[in-house]
Symmetry: C2
Subunit: 149 residues, 2 copies
């Protein structure tokens, strides 16, 4: 592609109807997963092309685990599947947003409903000290996972 075509390429990605995901150097895009009912962000994870295809085809969330370096069907160990109600793609197609019905007790491997269970105080003075919020453990991860990621 010549530099002169960049505006056209931008236009195609931003205003086109073709899904043209822009995977990063590791072959991944970012996925934000929210609770379809509450709107809360449950987790931020990654998808490779196979995870994206499987999610679109099945309507269930599949991710790619960077730590375990493998495709990962959400809930395969815990039973806490995510049924996708809607998927969106962002302007430059390097991120997707899925709204899900979270099955079971929660999305986070620490035993909480959401991975975002600590607040960062704003406009404070001195060192930042996190505050637990909506941090109740809804399941016991020790009982759910055989081995911890």
């Amino acid at each position: 592609m010549s530099a002169g075509n960049q505006p056209l390429e931008h236009k195609r990605i931003e205003e086109g109807l073709q899904l043209a995901p822009r995977f990063d150097a590791d072959g991944l895009i970012t996925c934000v997963t929210t609770d379809a009912r509450s709107g809360d962000v449950l987790m931020v994870a990654h998808m490779n092309s196979e995870a994206l295809e499987k999610t679109i085809a099945s309507g269930e969330a599949w991710y790619y685990s960077r730590s375990r370096k493998k495709l990962w069907r959400k809930g395969e160990s815990s039973g806490h599947l995510q049924r996708v109600v809607e998927m969106r793609v962002d302007c430059d197609q390097d991120a997707v947003w899925i709204k899900v019905e979270q099955q079971g007790a929660g999305a986070c491997h620490t035993g909480r409903r959401s991975c975002f269970y600590r607040a960062v105080p704003l406009r404070g003075e001195g060192a930042v000290r996190l505050e637990f919020r909506d941090a109740e453990q809804t399941f016991d991860p020790e009982k759910i996972y055989n081995d911890k990621a």
Copy 2:
């Protein structure tokens, strides 16, 4: 850190009260920005340590632009600032979620309120064809930005 300390290190990051952001090889963490009122995801962007510090100190959203390779105060060109109502950090501290009051017409450089203005149909057959959704342009980006990123 020896391998034997990994569970302790996990515990500190996941259950501790210290903000210990795990920046990637480029010095960035992912930031998900939602509309504090509607709960919609407005954008997914990145923060370096300076952007994170400035956001925490000011209560306004600062990001790091990967394309422009610079710190970026959201709304500095458009006037569409984001006042942060709440910031959360996730279990492994490589992502933050901010709930914001979006000032002005929108967050997306294409002129929409959210960057996620196209839906990806699920469980379909054949090629995926995106569908515009909540895609009304709320401002004219040509009039707002002098140069397009």
